[in-house]
């Protein structure tokens, strides 16, 4: 089955440039994919009439019917496991996991089946499915609603893992993930859902599995993704007022990691800070630190520093401001890096 190409015109977007929230951009992106390909189906808990707890699938069931937008039984293993079967059967399921902390009942299906079927069958079975996961903290929620589990999936061979940080990426990346022939874990920064930005629905998007330099600078490279992108950009703006020039790279793809632009940047700046909400031990941030010291050893002026969530369970929400990397912690790391 040929994947639809990405330069298709989309009827969901009357104007070329629109100002949208990430939530609405995802909704429009899903709609565009569903219009372009009748095999795309959306499935998850409450995705139908309610439009999902974050309303990302709002209105889709009304327009595409109950067989393309499935309100599923309350079972994550069921959602992901049946999506495997549907994908084998030629569908392109887009699964919604309601909150990050609820992906684990489906973890077995993801690591045992989703990740390995292509390999086990030596390519005879493809699994073009997407698992959407609202992730990260900062919304004042109770436990299990604010986790950053992306490293578990990046650690598993056979999965692709991406995360968007702005409406334009949200709009395009979700469509590209659906078009991808491999299973994609799609992490959505939930505390940024209602932040707005411009989406050009006609300009051809960049490739899905590439990181992007958002801001060039000369003193320190900052690598980040998802909800921490905005924090890092704000830190860069604040640092500029103190006469410090930060380069900010939005990873966008966590597996495969696209580190070539990071290496190139670190060779110029000599310094790297990784910013992420996820705990640091045995994580994506560890991986970046390891690879950068391996590739850029002679260019480094300071050790790679990490500004991350702590290696604890996500704390009660009254403490999440302390837990989440904020502008001050990023700037503190900049000070430490430059003091070397």
């Amino acid at each position: 089955m040929a994947a639809p190409t990405m330069d298709r015109p989309t009827s969901a977007a009357p104007a070329a440039v629109q100002t949208l929230t990430i939530a609405k951009a995802l909704n429009n992106g899903l709609r565009a994919s569903m219009e372009a390909n009748p095999k795309v189906i959306v499935m998850g808990e409450d995705v139908g009439k309610l439009g999902g707890v974050f309303r990302i699938t709002d209105g889709l069931q009304k327009d595409f019917g109950e067989q393309r937008v499935l309100d599923t039984p309350l079972s994550e293993s069921g959602i992901i496991g049946t999506a495997v079967g549907l994908a084998i059967r030629g569908y392109r399921p887009v699964c919604e996991i309601q909150f990050d902390g609820f992906i684990f009942p489906g973890f077995d299906q993801i690591v045992s089946q989703v990740a390995k079927l292509h390999y086990r069958t030596q390519g005879r079975l493809k699994l073009p499915m997407v698992i959407r996961v609202p992730f990260g903290g900062g919304i004042g929620a109770v436990e299990h609603h604010s986790e950053s589990p992306e490293s578990y999936f990046a650690h598993t061979a056979g999965l692709k893992v991406v995360t968007c940080s702005n409406p334009a990426d949200a709009y395009w990346m979700i469509q590209q993930a659906i078009d991808c022939e491999d299973p994609v874990l799609f992490f959505e920064p939930k505390r940024r859902y209602y932040e707005k930005g411009e989406v050009d629905t006609t300009a051809a998007p960049g490739p899905l599995f590439r990181s992007r330099t958002l801001r060039t600078g000369t003193d320190v490279t900052v690598v980040t993704y998802g909800p921490s992108v905005r924090t890092s950009m704000e830190a860069a703006a604040a640092a500029e007022e103190e006469g410090r020039s930060l380069e900010v790279i939005d990873l966008r793809t966590l597996s495969p990691l696209d580190l070539a632009p990071v290496f190139e940047s670190v060779r110029r700046t000599g310094r790297l800070i990784v910013v992420t909400e996820a705990p640091s031990e045995s994580s994506i941030s560890s991986e970046i630190a390891a690879k950068v010291q391996q590739e850029c050893f002679y260019s480094l002026q300071a050790p790679v520093l990490r500004v991350t969530g702590f290696d604890t369970p996500y704390p009660p929400s009254k403490l999440e401001e302390e837990f989440l990397p904020d502008l001050d912690r990023v700037l503190h790391a900049v000070d430490r890096s430059l003091a070397w």
Binding site: E45, D46, G48, K49, L50, G51, V53, D71, T72, P73, L74, S75, S77, G78, G101, F102, F104, P105, G140, A141, V142, E143, H144, H145, E281, F310, D311, T312, P313, P315, P316, S317, K318, L319, E320, E322, F323, D328, R329, H332
Partner: protein
């Protein structure tokens, strides 16, 4: 032995509440949810406050006992309404309303003995009350200052479980432990009650809990509060059969009780616990009830259910029917009802005061008690964080 099973789908007779495939209109209108619960429903007190007999589950109840159950229900409803209001005023991050499920919870909770164990999900404020958990101890998790502050060992009330279905396996293991410890088989035996919703029955953990409890004869009462909705999804989205009928497939009894009838819930749960104590467990109880408020304070039920449905269930209010019965029997007078109201008001005031004065936890709480035996790497991370933090505070002086 070889009773001829009919290999057909259960017809409307067998499954009045969730028979066959509901029409779209029925589901949209939530009509299935307004069903009476079917012929197998155990009921002892009608919505009109009439006492009715049941061949298997009848109980004797004194005036004093019934007044006690009434008091419990009124107080937990008041706690629930106050907490809901506190969320609306921004004092709680979220609240999970109990409204409508008071009878199911007070009946089940009062059937338990102190030495029994309860595993709740997250809506069991009424069970908490019967276990002696102070209502104020429910606030930490919803205000975001803690993850629930009651002592699960002293109260025998497990922490709230947010991940749907997880507690069912935990409860099964606990009940297996009760059995392995020889606490089953005589009059002072122990048992466990595990609480979960209709939506939860779709989770693998719940199915696995049924399997394990059955094969190990665990003294466990599975108490499913079928409040008709799993957020926006009606019970029909989880099951084709009435939920209590599933138990048979696992080899233990399933009973559907009127979850808005505190007497019936009490009677059936008492019986089930007794069976468990004698070594005849497990048992599934489906309390047929209704969630009268939103799923949580973040939910918008107007998107998926009609107000007609709510109006219908209001007629089956669990508290009103007891009140009517108390009055008809002349078991309570106006002074009694007023005293309960006053007590409820007092509890609400205490809850409010406690909530608004609940201090934010100190930053070090992030790192406290992650491990029982410590972890040097984490301790170093904590020390670095606290030093960073102190530097900030100092810098502001």
């Amino acid at each position: 032995m070889s009773s001829p099973e009919k290999w057909t789908h259960p017809g409307p007779d067998a499954a009045p509440a969730t028979a066959a495939k509901p029409t779209a209109e029925q589901v949209i209108a939530g009509l299935r949810a307004t069903d009476e619960g079917g012929a197998d429903l155990v009921q002892l007190l009608t919505p009109e406050g009439e006492r009715v007999q049941h061949p298997d589950f009848d109980i004797d109840i004194t005036a004093e006992e019934l007044r006690g159950l009434y008091r419990d229900m009124v107080l937990v409803r008041r706690v629930d309404r106050e907490a809901n209001a506190l969320q609306r005023k921004g004092q709680l991050g979220i609240w999970v309303p109990l409204l409508g499920q008071e009878a199911a919870q007070i009946g089940a909770g009062r059937a338990m003995r102190p030495e029994d164990m309860a595993f709740p999900s997250y809506r069991e404020h009424g069970i908490a009350w019967t276990r002696g958990v102070k209502p104020t101890d429910l606030l930490g998790i919803f205000r975001g200052t803690d993850n629930g502050t009651w002592d699960p060992v002293a109260t025998r009330f497990h922490p709230y479980t947010i991940v749907i279905g997880n507690q069912v396996l935990n409860a099964t293991g606990y009940a297996m432990g009760q059995k392995f410890d020889g606490k089953v088989g005589d009059a002072d035996g122990e048992a466990t009650v595990c609480f979960f919703g209709d939506g939860a029955t779709s989770q693998g953990d719940v199915h696995e809990g049924f399997v394990w409890a059955a094969v190990y004869d665990a003294p466990l009462v599975f108490f499913c509060q079928n409040n008709q909705w799993a957020i926006s999804e009606p019970t029909e989205r989880q099951s084709r059969l009435p939920l209590y009928q599933r138990a048979r497939g696992y080899g233990f009894p399933g009973i559907r009780v009127d979850g808005n009838d505190v007497l019936a819930t009490l009677a059936v749960t008492r019986w089930a616990l007794e069976e468990c104590r004698q070594g005849n467990g497990p048992i599934l109880i489906e309390a047929f009830t209704y969630r009268m408020d939103a799923h949580t304070t973040s939910d918008d039920p107007s998107r998926y259910r009609l107000s007609d449905e709510l109006e219908l269930w209001k007629l089956k209010d669990p508290i009103e029917r007891v009140k009517v019965h108390l009055v008809k029997q002349q078991w309570a007078d106006q002074a009694f009802f007023e005293s309960i109201e006053a007590e409820a008001e007092q509890i609400a005031i205490e809850l409010r005061d406690y909530c608004v004065n609940l201090p934010d936890p100190p930053p070090g709480r992030i790192f406290s008690e992650v491990y029982a035996e410590g972890n040097p790497v984490l301790e170093a991370q904590r020390d670095e964080f606290l030093a960073y933090h102190a530097g900030f505070a100092g810098g502001e002086h």
